[in-house]
Structure formats: C-alpha cells, structure tokens
C-alpha cells in the first residue's frame, strides 16, 4: 500500500467536543498518527452525549457522537494538570510534530504548556491553538460553542424565512468550519516546516474562522451600506428558486408529507425545460415569465404551479425527472435517506466500522479522496484509555511498575472518574 499523505506525522490531540476533534479526525484520515489525550476526570464531553438508556454500562465507550469524530485516532489518558502528567506530555511532544488544542485561551499557559515550553523540548513543533475567541483580545477569556460562532458571525441574522425571525442552521455550524480550517492550517504549517525547517504557533480563532464563509456579504455591505434581507430559499435573481413539497410515504393520507425537492432555475432554457416537464409548456411563452426579471417579479404565481406538480410524486422522482429534462433539482435528503442513497453507496462513501464496545455500524468514509493513496476508516474511535500501553510503554519506555504508579497517583487511568458531565 502507498503511504498516506501524512505518513510519519504524529499529532498530540488535546482537543475536545467537535471543532478540534473534527480537525484531528481529518488529519487521522490522512494518515497522521493522532494521539488523543483525555484526563481521568476530564474526558471529551461527547462521551456523555450517548443518548443511550440510563442503565447502559460503560456508555462513555459507546457514544455515537464521540465515535463518529474520533475514528482514526489513538486514545491515551493523562492528567496534564499534574506535574508528572505534564512531564510525560512534554516527553511525548518531543517525539511528535503537531499539538492541537481548543481550550479557553488561558488554559495552556496555566498548564505550563506554552508554545515556548513546547519548543524547548521540540524546536520545530507546530502548535495549533483553536480557542473559540482566539488567544488575545477583549473576549479571549470567553468560551463558546459552534452555535455561538454562527450567531456572532452574522450568519444567523441573515438566515431564515423571509417573513420571520433569524434562524440557526441545523448543526453547530461553527464547529466543522473551525475544524476544517484548523486541519488545513495544520497541513499548511507542516508544509512550511518542510520548506523552512521552522515550526510555528498557529492561531485559529473560531469566531474569525467562520467570517470568511460570509466574506462577500461584508464586501457587499461596504459597497452598498446594506446587508441582504432574509429570503428563505429565494435567490436574489433566480426564480423559481425554492423547495417544493412532494408526495411522501406518510401512513395516513391526510397529513402532509415532509419530503421536499429543491429546484433552481438559472435561465430561460431551464425554465422552458421545467414548464415542459411539469406539463405546462405554455408558461414558457407567457410574457409574465418571459425572462429572469419577470419570473423574479411573478414568482409568487409560479411557486404554486410548481408545487401542484411536485406534490404528485416523490422527491426522488421529481428530481430525476427534472434532471433528465435539464433542470437543476435535488431532493432535500434526510439523514436516513443519505445512508441508503444510491450515489453515495456506489461511491463507497459508507463504510462498516466495528467499534470495540458498540458493535458494527455505518460510518462516512474520508471525504478527501486520493487516487494513489485512498483513505479509509483504519481505526475505530478509542475506548477510554485504550492506547495507554502503547503510549506509556512503547513510546515513552515506561516499566510496568512505573505505569502502575501513575495509575495509583491518578495521573492516568483505565476507567474515567465517575460523575462527569451529568
């Protein structure tokens, strides 16, 4: 097998929850050896979001959220707040390339793990810090989650139905945005180190990372003095442009289905194709819909006509028929639909992964698809402390007695301290 892109790169992952772990998941997918550090009394809190029955044993090793975003990593338990833990962490960092953390801005300093401290044991180390508000500035002491990043960025104020309140997206969007940004930043720093021999301290302030995802809106605002209004699914010029209710597989025929097809008409040819496909070819010759501008003005009249057609078929049928006619259309796919989606299935996007304590289930494969070095889920997410022996014995060369002493002193453990995140 060819070597994966980040072959021979070792990452010490101090990050928790989603943004940081998603960054290190991407690095692990690309072949880096990622060692995730948790402390006996301070696990990754996604271990507590298992949504499993209350009497589930060792639920922290079975939480789907944790396992989804910590695959392709090793797990080691080490309390950095204890002098012995810090010393071992520094020894580990001395034989690593990258350290990633998403603590509050002052935590690494409190642990005595500043960039300078890391550099003293590993001169070309790359430290990637991704605190929610960055390492400095008036808000550096704040904490925040991915939901807050989209609220603070302006995205929420711009999003939602036209006649209604600002809307959150469906996920903690700031987290994957910061995570993919931090992964790219890390690889950029690794390249820079290859070219110059220098390591560096990279700062990913999550409140900043999301802002370029709205970049054109800030340019627009400075150009016109206005930000765009909330438009729902409507577009600034295209019409029809929206999602239309389709027939679904509801058990009772009375309740409306929750299946939708997204349709976006970019030009006259697509509009003519839409009209023909829905059996209303005469509309393409109607002067009320003759061009982009008139369709935009009269879209309130067009939308019910499109809905009238879509409600008679499933969203898959509607999209397939429209695509065949030359119209951009796609079902609004739900999560259960994605998992059985023929396109993703044929592309091998879903892999079966056997987790240590939670059985075999389906997981998305690495989305970065390399021709010579295809990546896969090589490792399930670690159960708590799973790779303690690898780290302490093989990497750090500790003896059985020394490891036993660490366990007695609570510097490491094989089970988490009870009562976390309840």
């Amino acid at each position: 097998m060819e070597r994966l892109p980040l072959f021979n790169v070792r990452v010490i992952d101090l990050s928790k929850v989603w943004a940081g772990p998603y960054a290190t998941r991407l690095l692990g997918d690309m072949g880096a050896e990622v060692i995730k550090i948790e402390a006996p009394g301070s696990w990754d809190l996604t271990r507590s979001l298992s949504l499993l029955p209350a009497d589930t044993e060792r639920a922290y090793n079975k939480a789907g959220y944790f396992m989804e975003y910590n695959r392709n990593k090793l797990g080691c338990v080490l309390d950095l707040a204890q002098p012995k833990g810090r010393e071992l962490a520094l020894r580990l960092i001395a034989m690593s390339d990258v350290v990633i953390e998403n603590y509050r801005a002052d935590v690494m300093e409190g642990l005595g793990l500043t960039y300078d401290a890391l550099r003293s044991v590993k001169p070309d180390v790359i430290l990637v810090s991704m605190p929610s508000h960055g390492l400095w500035g008036p808000d550096a002491g704040r904490i925040g989650y991915g939901t807050h990043m989209e609220q603070l960025s302006g995205l929420v104020s711009l999003s939602g139905y036209a006649d209604d309140v600002p809307r959150k997206s469906g996920i903690s969007y700031g987290d994957p945005v910061a995570g993919m940004t931090a992964a790219a930043a890390t690889i950029g720093a690794l390249l820079h180190r290859r070219w110059t021999g220098h390591g560096q301290h990279v700062e990913v302030a999550q409140v900043e990372a999301i802002l370029p995802f709205l970049g054109e809106i800030f340019v627009e605002y400075s150009m016109t003095g206005c930000a765009p209004p909330r438009r729902g699914n409507r577009h600034r010029s295209m019409a029809p442009h929206g999602v239309y209710r389709c027939a679904g597989d509801t058990f009772d025929k009375l309740s409306a289905s929750d299946s939708w097809v997204a349709i976006a008409i970019e030009n006259d040819a697509q509009f003519a194709a839409l009209c023909a496909a829905i059996g209303r070819p005469e509309l393409a010759r109607d002067e009320r819909y003759a061009d982009v501008v008139s369709r935009y003005r009269n879209q309130d009249d067009l939308d019910p006509i499109v809905s009238e057609w879509t409600k008679g078929r499933s969203h898959h049928e509607a999209a397939a028929q429209l695509q065949a006619a030359g119209v951009p259309a796609e079902p609004v796919l739900t999560i259960p639909e994605l998992v059985v989606d023929p396109h993703l299935r044929e592309r091998g996007f879903w892999e079966e992964v056997t987790n240590r304590e939670s059985g075999t289930w389906t997981m998305d494969a690495p989305a970065w698809r390399f021709s010579r070095t295809p990546a896969h889920v090589r490792l399930p997410a670690p159960v708590f402390g799973e790779h303690n022996d690898y780290v302490f014995r093989e990497l750090l060369g500790l003896s059985e007695e020394e490891i036993a002493a660490l366990e007695r002193e609570g510097v490491t453990s094989r089970e988490p301290v009870a009562g976390q995140d309840t």
């Binding site: 996604t46 609220q151 999003s159 900043e208 295209m238 998992v339």
Partner: protein
C-alpha cells in the same frame, strides 16, 4: 512583498463560480501564486453577480471581488487546439491544478488527468464538484440550493411545520472550497513522500454529509430517527435561539454550563433541587426550564446577557447583524476586518485570515481584471511575445 505561508506553491486555477475560487483564494491570500484561467470575453460568471461598485462595467461584482483576491487572471479557451497546447505547457510550470468541471469534460478535450500528469509527473490535480467524478449523480446540474439540499444539512434547518431552508450565502460551496484547500495541502505534503503526483477528488455532498454532528451517528448507530427531524430555533430548553428585549440570544448549555446559567437566570435554587441535578433529570423538567429561559431572556438585552455570560464563564451569545459584527470591539482590536483599496471600487471591507500563522504571512491583494496578467504570465512562463499574444487573441485562443 512579504513571504507568505504558501509562497512555494503555484496553482493553476481552472475553477469558476464560488466553491473552487474560495479554495484558491485561500491559497492566494496565504501567499501562493494562483493563476486563474478564465474564458476569453466573458470570464468567470461570478464577475457578473451583483451588487457592483459604482461606475464599474458589470464585471466586478462583490462576490467576484471577494473570491479572487490575490490571483492573477489569464484568458484561455482550453477547448481550442491552441488553447489546449498552451494549457499543457502551463501545467509544466505549476504544482497544482484545481478544476471543477463536469466529469468527462477535460477528457473530452484531450486534457484528461493522464495527459496532465504526463506533462508533469509531480502534478497534483484537485477536483471540487457538487457530486464528485463518478456515481449516478455525477452529471447532475447543480446550483447552491440544490447542492445544499443533497448534502443533508438542509433537512435539519427550519421549523418542523415549515419547509426546510438554506442558510444565507454560499455555505455548500464554501465548505467544499475549504475542504479542497485542505485536501490539496495534504496532497502537496504527499508529493514529498511519494515522489509522484496524484489527484484528489472532493464532492460537496460528501463534505456536508460528513458533518451532521451527532444527528448522523445517532441514526447510523442507534437506528433512531428522532434527531434527524428539523426542530427550528429551539432544540431543547437550554439549546436554541430565544427572543430577548432587543433581539435574539443564543443559548447552548451543556451539563458543565448549567450552574453558571442558573446563576445568570437567578435560579440558583435549581442547583440545590434534586429535580434539576442531572441532565436526565433536567430533561424531565424540560417545560419548566423552557418557560424560565423564555421569561428570563425576554426582559434582558443582548449586551446585558453577553456581559453576564462573560462574568460567569457561561455559553450565551447575541445574534448579531452584519453592521454589529463589524463593530465588535474584540474583532476591532484584533484588526480582523481589512480595508482594501480596489482599483475599480475604491476601499472595500474584506474578512481577514481564517487562521493566523505564526510564521508566513497572509496578505490581501485586489482581484484581477479579466486577462490582466496575460502579458506577464504568458511572457514569463511560455515565453510568448506581446506580438504573438495579439495573434492568439485574434485567433480566439486567449
């Protein structure tokens, strides 16, 4: 010019629209040389997406100005015989080609990946498209809306009794663009290990389907469909967006944040009460907590709430408008937003670096006019004289 983080890299950018250009903008702003190949005459369609600066001839809309900072623009019709040969020659001078064409298009004009790699065996080719280069949907027509619909994130946006919606901007494209940037960097790193080039393929649909938070694994693992339904602004009693005295406030309270939240709401008694003593118990008191959060928020301003959140180290944030974001003291002190004097539009406000390197600069330079760098690029890399450029232009190749 200062040395950029990625100054060693030269990218030949065949993309247009939003997704690919966002990825290559990241390269350019971090110092890579990005040569943007545009169709002669019309150029990147994003040029004609408004609003436009006053007095501009309609080829420098805000979207284009944002997405193409720091790039060099050349015109080239790669579908012509001459254009094809010039592209193959250019490929010898670059590290990366990024493209977002429909699958099969490059093969059809004799510029398939094999042909490119033959000209430059260490070349990296990145494909960034809505659905990827293979599979039943590979040939689908796509727009921002339809691409976002296919990735699963849209099904989670909106109220249960209304239609799903797409958040503002180009979120499907920019997620794809950022992944294309990261994956291309990984590919560049691999060249030093494999001593050979390769291609990397990204599909927006897959990038988005990989980031469905706990909603995807809860379904794939436990088989439930409860969390796969959209739930609007209120996800739970302590996770959502609530109306407050002067707007909206975001509340996201995990177990470890509950005590500080109770103090902020003035309901410290909850911390002594067994019924509120764990996440599971609090779930049973959902309605009471929800009513408490609504009534607490309704009487307070965003500024008040955000200040209390800082004091108590809690996890609350205001919903800010665009002008408010621009005035945030934190971002002002950090100098995040940058003014750039665009030669066509005058001073405009741009977002700063998505990450701040400790060494290797990030720098903003204006987006190019169509074909602005024809003389420089073709002269320097292909040794074509100005006189020959005129002939090539007349022949429609550039």
């Amino acid at each position: 010019m200062p040395e950029g983080l990625l100054s060693e890299v030269t990218v030949l950018d065949l993309t247009e629209g939003a997704a690919g250009p966002f990825g290559t903008k990241l390269f350019a702003d971090y110092g890579a040389r990005v040569i943007k190949v545009e169709r002669p005459g019309t150029g990147d369609p994003a040029r004609r997406v408004g609003p436009f600066p006053e007095g501009c001839d309609g080829d420098a809309g805000a979207l284009f100005l944002f997405l193409n900072t720091g790039k060099e623009s050349i015109t080239l019709d790669i579908a012509t015989a001459t254009g094809r040969l010039m592209l193959l020659e250019l490929v010898e001078h670059v590290d990366v080609v990024i493209e977002g064409f429909a699958p099969g298009l490059l093969d059809g004009i004799g510029l398939g990946y094999d042909a490119l790699l033959q000209r430059n065996p260490r070349l990296l080719i990145t494909s960034a498209t809505p659905y990827g280069r293979s599979g039943p949907y590979a040939g689908h027509l796509a727009t921002e809306l339809t691409s976002y619909a296919a990735g699963g994130q849209m099904s989670l946006c909106g109220d249960a009794d209304r239609e799903p919606f797409m958040p503002a901007g180009h979120q499907a494209s920019y997620q794809l663009g950022m992944h294309a940037f990261g994956a291309t960097l990984a590919a560049l790193y691999s060249v030093g290990i494999l001593e050979a080039g390769q291609s990397v393929e990204l599909a927006a649909m897959e990038c988005m389907a990989a980031t469905l938070e706990l909603y995807l694994p809860d379904h794939t693992y436990v088989g439930r469909e409860i969390l796969t339904k959209r739930r609007g602004n209120i996800i739970s009693s302590t996770l959502g967006i609530f109306p407050c005295a002067d707007g909206y406030v975001g509340v996201h309270i995990m177990a470890r944040n509950f005590a500080s939240f109770a103090r902020i709401m003035g309901t410290e008694w909850m911390l002594e009460d067994e019924r509120f003593s764990s996440e599971r118990n609090r779930l049973r008191q959902h309605d009471q907590i929800l009513a408490q959060v609504y009534s607490w928020a309704a009487e307070r301003t965003r500024a008040e709430i955000y200040q209390r959140s800082a004091d108590e180290r809690c996890t609350l944030a205001p919903v800010l408008t665009i002008p408010e974001v621009l005035k945030q003291p934190h971002l002002l002190e950090r100098g995040f937003f940058r003014q750039l004097d665009d030669p066509r539009a005058g001073p405009l406000t741009y977002t700063g670096p998505p990450f701040r390197p400790g060494e290797g600069e990030w720098e903003l330079r204006p987006a190019p006019r169509l074909g602005e760098h024809n003389t420089d690029v073709y002269g320097e890399l292909l040794d074509i004289s100005s006189r020959d450029l005129v002939l090539l232009r007349q022949a429609g190749a550039i």
